[in-house]
């Protein structure tokens, strides 16, 4: 056995022991740094998305509170965009923006965007200005696609459209519950083969709010109802929503 004896409160350790310790620490360092890199490399890549945190733009259009809160806005070159509306933090449409269904409004908000799905965070109460009733022909343009029954993950659309990346699965589950509980519109994330995915917004029947268990967030659920398109969004008016029994991985 080696007779080198280590006493930590002395200024120097025996030199052979020091050499050995340096070698051990170096090997250990290489091992842990390598492991950290390997673990990082095996992560599922986060999906793209945009959240213009801290950036506010001015938006104007017609506010529709049902079936889901949206701003229908026409640009100067005549293109109509439907922005889903949420509040700051883990909340849906803020109180100050309620009660203006069908009215023209103007406000500052931050853009959240994933692909064609666009959403605005209303985070500036003072800027919110009602501009009076909209022209009568300005009803939300909804197109019925058909009856559909579909299974996927219940997500909160605010995080999924870009606030958090990644924003799915069990790690994010508690956050999704909080967001849904705060009134953020629920979505059904459906991945089909070839890595293609789509989010279908879930709404209640006949313009009523959807009643459902927020704790089903990040779980696999099956929704049946009438699928419509509203601008670039797909909206399912849900007749039936249920938790799907687990299939083992």
């Amino acid at each position: 056995m080696n007779d080198d004896f280590y006493i930590g409160y002395l200024e120097k350790a025996p030199s052979s022991l020091g050499r050995w310790t340096r070698r051990v620490v170096l090997a250990l360092g290489v091992l842990v740094v390598g492991l950290a890199a390997m673990l990082a490399a095996r992560q599922t890549p986060a999906e793209p998305g945009t959240f213009e945190f801290g950036i506010q733009r001015t938006f104007e259009g017609v506010l529709h509170e049902s079936p889901l809160p949206m701003l229908q806005s026409v640009s100067s070159n005549g293109v109509t965009t439907h922005y889903l509306l949420v509040g700051a933090g883990k909340y849906g449409l803020p109180a100050f923006a309620r009660g203006h269904d069908g009215q023209r409004v103007r406000f500052h908000g931050s853009l959240i965007q994933k692909g064609d799905n666009v959403m605005l965070e209303l985070n500036d109460e003072k800027s919110f200005t009602p501009l009076g009733p909209a022209a009568s022909d300005n009803a939300p343009g909804r197109e019925v696609i058909g009856e559909i029954s579909i299974t996927g993950e219940l997500v909160d659309t605010k995080c999924y459209f870009g606030v958090m990346r990644p924003a799915t699965g069990k790690i994010h589950r508690a956050c999704a519950v909080r967001c849904l509980s705060g009134g953020v519109p629920p979505g059904l994330l459906v991945r089909q083969g070839n890595d293609a995915s789509v989010v279908i917004l879930l709404a209640g029947l006949n313009g009523r709010p959807l009643s459902y268990e927020v704790e089903w967030a990040a779980r696999r659920v099956r929704a049946t109802g009438k699928l419509k398109s509203q601008g670039a969004h797909l909206v399912l008016e849900v007749a039936r929503l249920s938790l799907v029994d687990d299939e083992r991985d």
């Binding site: 673990l39 599922t44 909080r178």
Partner: protein, 354 residues
């Protein structure tokens, strides 16, 4: 050793130890963040921090847990043990960063107080039969992490020698055995959390490998210790037990022997053999695995000193080990199995090696 407390008693070795620690932690963190950004370009900074701190903390915990048993098998690992508490405190801070960012990110700014949300966000699934059939994988993972953090906090908060003294070594040691519980809780936290979202087999593989290594080392060390504790007693005469040959105790070195269920340290200095309790007054380190340095028995863990003839620490220190009466007859060491009252002087027994 010192007579007055300081926050940290720095010296050259300790500074090197801590510098190495900081550099390694930074390298692990940066390596995780860098590769994550290459692999997952859209990942947010908060997610990177949450994951990076978790991975770094968990890797560091494995290192911390390996040092103890490694030092039992090879004393050359003792330099890593000396300041192990610095690793523990660092690990706690990494875990704290992870917890604070995760709590703010996932639970704050909502309709429930964040800490309450941590424990209750999807409380239905505390009942693994809630959605019909046995579905344990949905069980909330956050409480396991929270419980581990509480244990790690208590350990970090009481890591200073002041606590050893004022909680009593028994309570202190028992409290710090809590690291094993924290390790278990963290593995469960990861298995029911991250491993449910991240499906690469690399994660369970690394976690399992780490567990096999750590548990293997600890079980092997426990086995080695138990074997020593079960050592058969030698012959007994007039209350003295034959414990070993005198030649097995080398000059300036210690040897641990068993006497009626207690470990006793034998030391040889200037052809005399002395016997003291094997349990260091500091952290209960194995005194008998130490050496004689500058005429004093020196504990291998943190270098605490005791005089061989009376077990007293050299002044101004006040720590005392029990001494045991000893006889060397015909090349055999005979030890009186009952310890002397604290401070009793024993001249030791002269070894006749001829």
């Amino acid at each position: 050793m010192s007579t007055t407390y300081r926050a940290i008693d720095w010296n050259r070795q300790k500074r090197r130890y801590d510098l190495t620690l900081v550099v390694l932690v930074a390298l692990v963190f940066l390596s995780f963040m860098g590769v994550s950004l290459l692999r997952s370009t859209h990942i947010t900074a908060e997610t990177l921090l949450i994951r990076g701190s978790a991975v770094t903390a968990l890797l560091l915990l494995h290192v911390i847990l390996a040092i103890g048993p490694l030092a039992r098998f090879d004393p050359r690992f003792l330099p890593l043990l000396y300041n192990r508490r610095h690793l523990g405190v660092t690990m706690f801070f990494l875990a704290l960063v992870h917890s604070v960012f995760a709590t703010v990110q996932f639970h704050a700014l909502g309709d429930e107080s964040p800490l309450v949300s941590v424990l209750t966000a999807y409380r239905q699934d505390y009942n693994v039969f809630a959605s019909g059939g046995f579905q344990p994988a949905h069980f909330p993972f956050e409480p396991f992490g929270a419980a581990a953090l509480v244990i790690l906090f208590l350990m970090a908060a009481t890591s200073h020698d002041f606590w050893l003294r004022n909680l009593g070594a028994g309570f202190w040691k028992a409290l710090h055995l809590g690291v094993y519980a924290a390790y278990g809780l963290l593995l469960v936290h990861v298995a029911f959390g991250a491993l449910q979202s991240e499906r690469s087999p690399a994660y369970p593989l690394v976690l399992g490998l780490g567990f096999v290594v750590i548990a293997g080392l600890h079980l092997a060390a426990a086995r080695k210790e138990a074997r020593l504790d079960r050592a058969e007693l030698g012959a007994e005469q007039d209350g003295f037990i034959s414990v070993c040959r005198a030649s097995e105790v080398r000059e300036g070195r210690g040897r641990v022997v068993m006497a009626r269920g207690q470990r006793v340290a034998l030391f040889r200095q200037q052809a005399r053999i002395f016997a003291t309790s094997n349990v260091c007054r500091h952290q209960g380190g194995p005194v008998g695995e130490g050496q004689i340095v500058d005429g004093c028995i020196t504990c291998p863990w943190h270098g605490w000193n005791y005089q061989p003839e009376d077990g007293c620490s050299p002044p101004p220190f006040q720590e005392v080990l029990e001494t045991y009466n000893i006889r060397v007859i015909a090349g055999h060491v005979w030890l009186k199995a009952t310890a002397n009252p604290l401070g009793t002087r024993c001249a030791g027994s002269l070894v006749d090696d001829r």
